[in-house]
């Protein structure tokens, strides 16, 4: 069962903040976040394991709420280089990473 991401697409001006959500209908063991630029491979951003922790990567951070079965990715003071499609990947205890529906982020100058 595929996790659902919201919003599907968002357009920001440089310097603005964004939040991307990843929701699951089943209990999560872990959440991965990846960014894919057009015509390129997905690139790993961060992983969150059970425990509600928040991880950071430059101005990009994420949280994992086990009770709500969701994760959120926070992008602060967005830069042009943040443009791309963001995917969450979730594991349900079956050793498989199931990717979400994707969120297309466009940053304009």
């Amino acid at each position: 069962q595929q996790p659902v991401q919201s919003p599907q697409a968002v357009i920001l001006r440089e310097g603005e903040d964004a939040v991307i959500n990843c929701s699951s209908s089943k209990a999560l063991y872990s959440v991965h976040w990846y960014r894919q630029k057009h015509g390129e491979a997905p690139v790993f951003l961060m992983i969150l394991l059970k425990g509600g922790e928040q991880k950071g990567h430059e101005k990009i951070s994420a949280s994992f709420n086990e009770k709500k079965q969701q994760s959120s990715l926070y992008l602060t003071a967005s830069q042009l280089s943040y443009s791309g499609t963001y995917f969450c990947g979730t594991e349900y205890g079956n050793e498989k990473l199931t990717f979400g529906t994707g969120t297309r982020l466009t940053i304009i100058p």
């Binding site: 991965h32 491979a41 050793e95």
Partner: protein
């Protein structure tokens, strides 16, 4: 220096043909994967191998056959290609076989865009 490399980058072929995609990783990882990304950008796992052993085999037509000659290589052979097979196929690798460890991030190859006409 390329970590995960796949060939070819583009593959255009006619329905009914058989084709192969090759993948190699030099990261020393134990696990390799094939993912399919369709025109709507959905990324779906097809297969995974851990130390040459098949561990994930999703509901994929048996026209698709993966082969792992050693833990650094994972190839994908597709028989009797159909229009619906058109997609981008990504090879990936990770240190651990399960996604729930800090050693499990996926490292993707650059993809093979398969077009079946």
């Amino acid at each position: 220096d390329t970590a995960v490399s796949q060939t070819p980058k583009y593959l255009v072929t006619q329905m009914g043909n058989d084709k192969s995609i090759k993948c190699e990783q030099n990261l020393g990882h134990d696990t390799m994967y094939w993912y399919k990304q369709d025109s709507k950008k959905f990324l779906k796992i097809m297969f995974s191998y851990n130390n040459k052993e098949l561990i994930i085999n999703e509901t994929v037509p048996n026209r698709f056959s993966p082969k792992s000659p050693d833990k650094a290589h994972l190839n994908l052979h597709i028989n009797s290609l159909e229009l619906g097979d058109s997609a981008v196929y990504f090879c990936a690798s990770s240190q651990d076989k399960g996604p729930s460890s800090y050693n499990s991030p996926l490292h993707f190859g650059n993809g093979t865009r398969l077009t079946v006409t």
